[in-house]
């Protein structure tokens, strides 16, 4: 127990260097910015800023990129409360009661509770990472390649849970992603595979080009079609200091949301969006008077906002200890770590203690910064909402183009983005979500490597995946998860959660 505090102290020493502090702030501000602005999610932004972090050392880069992710959870609530448009998918439920409160002139109150709840949840989630990380990593270090293979299968199955809509369709998207991940050089023989003669593809499809096309640019095109992004903002914020009575009412919801979010973040297939939806459902169910919900109930803001922040923090646990991303954003983090030459997995904590503990400490500092950025400075963000989308989308396009180009300084990647934008747009029209595709794409090479290595050690006997106890348990869990989703009662419940 003592050693955790000692290591955390070391982490603070790493995080508090001027450079790291600065990039933590940059991440928090960028995160808030994109959280506030509808139509640009953290996935697109992180991939956008990824090339800009090449010059930094890995610790500063990861600190900044994660700041964007949890910062977006704060910023998203502002837009949801003030203009009834969720800036982030995690804030969809916050808009229900938050906007009602704003209409009643209690916008300041709602914003304050959202920020305070987010802060408490964020700090709690960070403590959980610090306590759970080292033992989990130790456990994972005993994994051999068959276990890793099964762990990845579990990770991929969890991507199906996250996806909205048909299970079958999500599985197809995963396989499409896996196949795209195969493009490039073969790890064992160095032979070029499926490059269609393009030299530029020999290192594989550029990660940033794929993400930017599927998520960034395709999103812009959908937004241009959709009239609802246009914002009319007439709400006045009012006092940001909540009364004691409101604080008392929100307290329980913050606690419940935090715990729920912490658990959801760690679980495969959990993630911040599911956490906030479930927290809202929970608050509504246990309330003495459920009819208050939808009419400005403070619990309806406090619960989901705490839950999404806690989950945003704890979703780093599977990534940092096992190298398994549980969401599209975490898949991006895998990409970011790999680009900086760090193999995501259980070795991070022992081989890169500065990175692990520095990141955790920076999350505490980042959460403090975010409360300051979001409460006293709320006026700036409100004014930002006045930027019309007809100007914003032009800027987004330019930044996307330069971002993609600057990864390898190659026009080819820009053309690749065009292709993936088209694919992303068509998939959206076909009600197929691109998030499972991204998970497959990121995990693809690792899945293949561990699959091949396992079969070499077992002399070609596929039973090895069932003979090793860890691998068997993980595969069993994956199958159980899949079956549970196909079962009618649970799948109906899942649809309800997504529709609410």
């Amino acid at each position: 127990m003592m050693s955790v505090f000692g290591l955390l102290g070391h982490g603070f020493a790493v995080a508090a260097t001027p450079t790291n502090l600065f990039f933590c702030l940059v991440g928090a501000v960028c995160g808030t910015l994109i959280g506030v602005l509808p139509g640009l999610g953290p996935v697109a932004t992180i991939s956008l800023l990824l090339p800009a972090t090449f010059a930094l050392d890995p610790t500063a880069a990861i600190i900044m990129l994660s700041g964007i992710y949890y910062g977006a959870q704060y910023g998203g609530s502002t837009t949801a409360i003030l203009v009834n448009i969720p800036g982030e998918s995690t804030s969809v439920v916050t808009a229900i009661d938050g906007y009602k409160m704003a209409q009643q002139g209690r916008a300041g109150e709602a914003l304050a509770i959202a920020a305070i709840g987010s802060f408490i949840a964020g700090c709690f989630g960070t403590v959980v990472i610090a306590l759970l990380g080292p033992p989990l990593a130790l456990m994972t270090q005993r994994f051999a390649s068959p276990d890793y293979f099964s762990l990845m299968v579990l990770g991929l199955v969890s991507a199906v849970v996250l996806a909205n809509g048909s299970v079958f369709r999500a599985i197809s998207m995963i396989f499409l992603g896996l196949l795209l991940g195969m493009v490039g050089m073969d790890i064992n023989t160095g032979e070029a595979r499926m490059t269609f003669g393009f030299v530029e593809l020999s290192d594989g499809i550029d990660f940033v080009a794929l993400v930017m096309g599927l998520f960034g640019v395709a999103e812009v095109i959908s937004n241009l079609e959709d009239v609802s992004v246009r914002i009319v903002n007439h709400t006045r914020v009012g006092s940001i200091w909540p009364s004691f009575r409101v604080l008392k009412g929100a307290w329980g919801a913050v606690m419940r949301g935090t715990l729920l979010g912490t658990v959801f973040g760690i679980l495969p297939g959990g993630g911040a969006t599911m956490a906030s939806f479930s927290a809202y459902a929970l608050e509504k169910r246990i309330a003495k008077d459920p009819s208050r919900f939808g009419k400005g109930a403070i619990e309806g803001v406090a619960g989901p906002e705490s839950a999404n922040n806690a989950a945003a923090q704890t979703s780093f646990v599977p990534l940092l200890t096992m190298g398994i991303p549980t969401s599209a954003t975490m898949a991006l983090m895998v990409g970011a770590l790999t680009l900086h030459g760090i193999a995501p997995g259980p070795m991070i904590i022992s081989r890169q203690p500065d990175l692990f503990w520095g990141l955790i400490a920076s999350m505490f500092l980042g959460n403090v910064m975010l409360v300051i950025i979001n409460l006293p400075m709320i006026g700036i963000w409100v004014r930002l909402l006045a930027v019309p989308y007809r100007v914003l989308y032009l800027i987004i396009c330019v930044v996307c183009a330069i971002g993609v180009y600057s990864v390898n300084n190659s026009s080819f990647d820009v053309y690749l983005t065009i292709g993936f934008t088209l694919l992303g747009y068509v998939l959206r029209k076909l009600h197929a979500e691109p998030a499972p595709l991204l998970m497959g794409f990121v995990l693809g090479p690792m899945v293949e490597e561990n699959f091949r290595r396992s079969l070499i050690t077992s002399h070609g006997d596929p039973m090895i995946f069932l003979q090793r106890p860890i691998s068997f348990a993980l595969l069993l869990l994956s199958v159980a998860l899949l079956i549970s989703m196909v079962m009618p009662s649970i799948s109906r419940r899942r649809e309800e959660v997504f529709q609410e």
Binding site: L179, E225, S406, V414
Partner: protein
């Protein structure tokens, strides 16, 4: 009307798309060494994936033919066409004419993607983006691109 929804529903068309991608991949994988379980070649794993994808695609395709599914969302060609074209303009110009011309051209093309843009706002946005990007990306981050032709 029935036959139109039959072929225009999302299941049938996504099945078609996935199967087509799988077949293209399979054509290419034919040129790779597949190998055996004991001695897996570069083509072994991709072949498996492509076959599964083909299977999934065909299942969706058949399901779309016999079970009703929602129709495909409406395609809005205007934003799609102009946004994609604006990226092509950027890609073609960045190395030939420098970052400022490439950005101005991109914004000029992207301007037509929405009916709500006004010429004045787009011109100002374009100039602003061009100047800021030239300073940030070329002067500070030093990506090897010229500022002007």
């Amino acid at each position: 009307m029935k036959p139109i929804t039959r072929f225009g529903n999302i299941d049938f068309l996504s099945g078609l798309l996935l199967a087509a991608i799988a077949i293209i991949a399979l054509c290419y994988i034919r040129t790779l060494t597949v190998g055996t379980v004991l001695e897996m070649g570069p083509g072994y794993f991709p072949l498996g994936l492509a076959l599964v994808l083909l299977g999934l695609g065909l299942c969706l395709l058949v399901k779309g033919l016999f079970v009703d599914a929602p129709p495909v969302g409406e395609f809005h060609l205007r934003p799609l066409f102009f946004i994609l074209l604006s990226f092509a303009a950027f890609g073609l110009l960045i190395e030939r004419a420098g970052i400022m011309v490439a950005i101005l051209a991109q914004v000029a093309v992207a301007h037509f993607a929405s009916r709500e843009t006004t010429v004045l706002q787009s011109v100002l946005t374009g100039i602003g983006c061009a100047v800021v990007s030239a300073v940030v990306f070329v002067l500070i981050l030093q990506i090897p691109v010229s500022i002007l032709p």
